[in-house]
């Protein structure tokens, strides 16, 4: 039996304390195989993003375990955790999170800095990805000069630049019109398929969820396979 790429086991997460405590996750569990795509759905405030952040090690669970290729990343020290995020995880946020002072290309290249990838090689890789998602002619533009869809596609390129094992997307099309959302989703799936990464998408969009191999719904802080 092969080890799943991602295993989320009985995760609990509470924000605040006492009467003000909000139990975002109450024993959420899921798994994701290599090259597989998964949509995480649920109502607003149900803890979808929290789950994604914990998977991506941006936040820590109160209890429960996360395993990626059988290893618990939360056992890593700060430096190793950063390296793990840099090498094994790619993020795409609802707000594209492109740095306004850099061009699209420079934004895409940001993760290669801690990776210490050779610059020429990194650039070649970025151009390859941009070409794949149709951004080659927009690479020198700054975020302010790009459309919302283009920004999100650059975010996808940035997420995939280091060939991560996991691509985590938090409402990637939430701020986009239908056409742009379509293009962005295409780009995501295109890159995921090409690179063989596992994809987890938090979304409200049933269309986008339908394109995934599997779907789970987060209810009462727990994952329910749909």
């Amino acid at each position: 039996m092969t080890t799943p790429r991602l295993e989320v086991l009985n995760i609990h997460k509470t924000f605040g304390s006492g009467a003000n405590a909000v139990h975002a996750l109450r024993g959420a569990s899921l798994s994701l195989n290599a090259g597989e795509s998964l949509a995480v759905m649920g109502s607003s405030g149900c803890g979808k993003s929290t789950l994604l952040h914990i998977i991506g090690t941006l936040d820590r669970p109160d209890s429960g375990r996360v395993k990626i290729d059988g290893e618990d990343p939360f056992r890593l020290n700060e430096r190793e955790l950063a390296r793990f995020r840099n090498r094994d995880v790619g993020f795409v946020f609802q707000d594209h999170c492109l740095l306004p002072q850099y061009s699209g290309l420079e934004n895409a290249l940001l993760p290669t800095i801690p990776m210490k990838t050779d610059r020429a090689e990194a650039r070649k890789r970025a151009e390859e990805l941009m070409k794949r998602v149709g951004l080659l002619d927009r690479q020198m533009n700054r975020p302010a000069e790009l459309s919302g869809g283009e920004r999100q596609r650059f975010a996808a390129v940035r997420a995939m630049i280091n060939r991560p094992k996991l691509l985590l997307c938090d409402e990637p099309t939430g701020n986009l019109d239908e056409a742009s959302a379509q293009k962005a989703a295409d780009a995501l799936f295109e890159l995921q398929a090409a690179e063989g990464a596992s994809l987890a998408i938090v979304t409200h969009d049933p269309g986008l969820a339908a394109r995934c191999d599997r779907r789970v719904r987060l209810e009462g802080g727990m994952c329910v396979e749909v």
Binding site: N86, R87, L110, R158, N162
Partner: protein, 1098 residues
Amino acid sequence: MRRGLIYYWRTHLAVLAASAVAASVVIGAIVIGDSARGSLRETALEGLGRIESVHLSEHFFREELAQKIGARPALLSGGSASSSGGARASGVQIAGVDERFLELYEDTDEILEALNEESVPPPAALNEPLAKELNLKVGSEAVLYAASRSGAHPENILGSRGADSDTEAMRIRVAHIMPARGVGRFSLRPSGSAPFNVFLRLDRLQRALGIPERANLAAVALGEDKAAFQKAFRAHADLSDRGLAVRTAPFPLNENKGDIWSYESPNFTLNTEQTEDLLAVARRLNLPAQINMTYVANRLEANGRMAPYSTVAALSRSAAPFPRLVLTDGSPAPPLDAEGVYINAWLAEDLGADVGDALRMAYFTLERGAFVEHEAEFAVRGVVQMSGAAVHPLLTPEIPGLGDSDNLSDWEETFPFDRNLIRPKDETYWDDYRAAPKAFFSMEAARRMWSRASSAGGGEATSIWVMGDRSDGERVRSALTAAARVPLIDARENALKASTGSTDFAGLFAGFSMFLIGSAALLVGLLFRLGVEERSGEVGLLLALGFTPWAVRRRFLAEGLALSGVGSAVGAAGAYAYSHLILTALQTRWRPAVGETPLSVHWSWESAALGWLLSTCAALAAVFWATRQLKRVSPRQLTAGAAAQGLEQVGAGRPYLSWVMVGFGCLLWFFSESPALFFGSGCLLLGGGMGLFRAWLRRSRRSSGRMGASDAKRNPSRSAASAALVACACFILVAVGANRRPVEIDDASTGGYDLMASSDAPLYINLNDPDARIDAGADLDAGVRVLSLRSTAGEDASCLNLYRPQTPRLLGASDEFIEQNRFQFVESIAEEGEKNPWRLLKKPIELGDLPAVPDEPSPQFIYHLPAIADEHSARWILHLNLGDALTVENERGELLSLRLVGLLKTSVFQSDLIVSEETLLRHFPSRGGFTRFLIESPDEDISKTAEEMERALRRYGFDAVSTETLLKRFHTIEETYLSAFQTLGSLGLLLGVVGLAVTQLRNALERRRELALLLAVGYRRSQLIWAASMENAFILLAGMALGAGPALAASAHQIRASSLLPLLITLAVVFAVGALTGAAASSAALQAPLLPALKGAR
């Protein structure tokens, strides 16, 4: 990094500007220090021309000697001057010079030409300050007074000359007036104010002072070998150059034994150094030596008969075959005990005295200018023949005023002398035996009666006999001159040392600006933090992308470094302007702090680089602080755009450190008595208070409150930093304001004396003696009491002297002064129960009780002596505390470790270091007479007393000033420094206001969406401005309370009711300025179109 710097240029420009302000202040403080030192150095060196060092002798050496060894001779004397218009100047330096001296300076042709003019009165060249003081022009005439320098020591009864003869008066014609530059500024003691210089041709001054062809100064020029000078000086010197004279006579008893060489002094008595050197030389050359001491007795009485005005003598015991006293029975007189006396046969017959009779002797000593008659009784142990030593012509040196007169009654006496007492038989004795002593005592008895311990002019001996042939005489001369100390004053080195300044201006202004620098750094931190908060999404993203927190922080630090570096570089330019401004203020508004010293900007790249480095580090530290929390903030929060909140949550634990600071501050406040510790407690309370305020804002941020306070809690760190900026400025303004107080004039600081005076020429007269007053022409109230003190010619140790005193002026506390126990001590090492700490001056130093002298030059180190100083001078000028020691040289080049055993509360003695009079006499024997005076005047108008004394004693350069004026003069400097401090505090306030305004603006911009919503639902813009102003007012008030509270606590011990109103006004102005600025910032922020904000645009 470059992209980030450019993209966020507005935020960065503000950080850069704040860094530039910090750098301007830091570099400026260093440049001010450099400028003060550089200006002092320039001024001091300018007055030395090409002089490297000088030999300034207490004896007048032959001008020919200086000529022989290629040195440049001059005759230098302190004195005073007066013009025909009645103007007077004291502290005048009278110099006799010629081309040899003047060639050490540039552009002296005109001076030389003027001095060579032939005119009566003789021409003189004055420097501008003196000409201005006396209101003289070229062609005017003036009178110079210099201390008389010839004859017996004025404090010997045979040297006392009276008020008219202690000084020499010279009328001069002003032939040239030179600027106070170059030779016009010539001074061996660097001083803030330009010296009063007058130059005469050397030969003319020599004649006027009665010392032809003699000089007392030989200058060694730059590049000349000092050791070679000293060697040549010794090689070519003769005995007169050492202040010695020699008479010789063949040995009368046995010619084969050699001649007697009698070494004497033109001052009548040999001083300790001369005595010891002569004895040491004789010992080394294996030549027999004998000490002789001669004195004058007023009366010798026995059996009811009396012989007037007789010389008496003491001869040391010697195994050498010197002429001996021979008893009338032909046997040699055995050594005498201290109670016995031999009388000569003539006196025995005159008094009808014989062995066993009591001989009563009356004699004068001169004590503090007054002749005091003493009586002593001795037992006649024998009668000596009128032969041998008893009548030896070398035994008695030439008696001043008597010399080789035909008659005893022709004596030009220097002491109370009743001619009527002289009998014909006394004249016959004079004819037959001249000044042959009539009575002989043991040396022990002689020293007891006449030595220096009881009178400054007493001396150790009147002659020393050395036995030897002619070649031995030459050997003694060579050895004596070879042993001569030829002390060189390293004028240039001293000037350089002194120009490091008594006040560390760099440290002072850095200290003054500390809060300003702190405020600027705080502002840098605040602004940078705002920038970081603005870019929190970027931080979160980078963390999410796998950058380590340190890597993210490093990116910001790199930007901070670039901003700090560039800002500091910009600040370097600002520093030039800042230092220029401060130096201008020091020479105008704050002039009392620097006196007349010309100051100019001295810029060095090294200092600028150091300042740049320091300010960059300070700014970088602020940036480091601003980014310190990045490490621990969750990327989730940052990417969610909740940076400020995220940053606030980190480190929001209990403020233990703040509580500790407050606790220590309170403890220090309760248990401390020192103003410095009070200030320290204030600083701790300030720091702790700010920390607690921040913690309070954080803890209560969720609770609702009134609009102002609750808004301020939105960004606790930001609000706390803004309040801290205001608090720092308020602290310094209030602390300084509270410390301002009128000068305290009371007996503790004046000692109950009304006037303090000094004279250029020493006074030897007793100013309390009505006859002496009449003699001096001083018409003073009988109730005027004068306490005369001896002093050395050292440098002013008070804050009035900008130069660092190398050899502070020493003041000798007489027994009378000590027992008066006036003035108040701040602290002393006196044991409990000792009510008079002045007595410590008479106690030997117990080294075990005191810390060792640092870097003690042990081979030379000899004397540990107690000293007392004014606390201000000790701490701030001499940089000494109680128990510390200052090392100075005595006249013989021996080292004195002057240990501070007591510190006086603010007093009139800020210029002096006080030792016992005995110490002064022992170690500075050539400094005869009294030059400092404390005066009590019953006259309501003490200025009348001062004027009358100055008029009557103008020959001495007598200068009296009321003790109140003197204290006010010192106090003015303190006030000036406080003004400077307050001004810089105001600049800190300016930064505080800028910080507040920026915070206000930033808050308003961040809340544009919220404000837009409020406008949309019907709020008026003015209401929103009012709400924002309330927040600003809250922070402002909190800052003021945080700053003013600790400052008032720190000053509670000395705050006066009169200080409160100005303080309240200051605080009101602070509030008004801060509130208006905040309102203006809020208003400006709300002028921007709010619709885009409502739509969520950034």
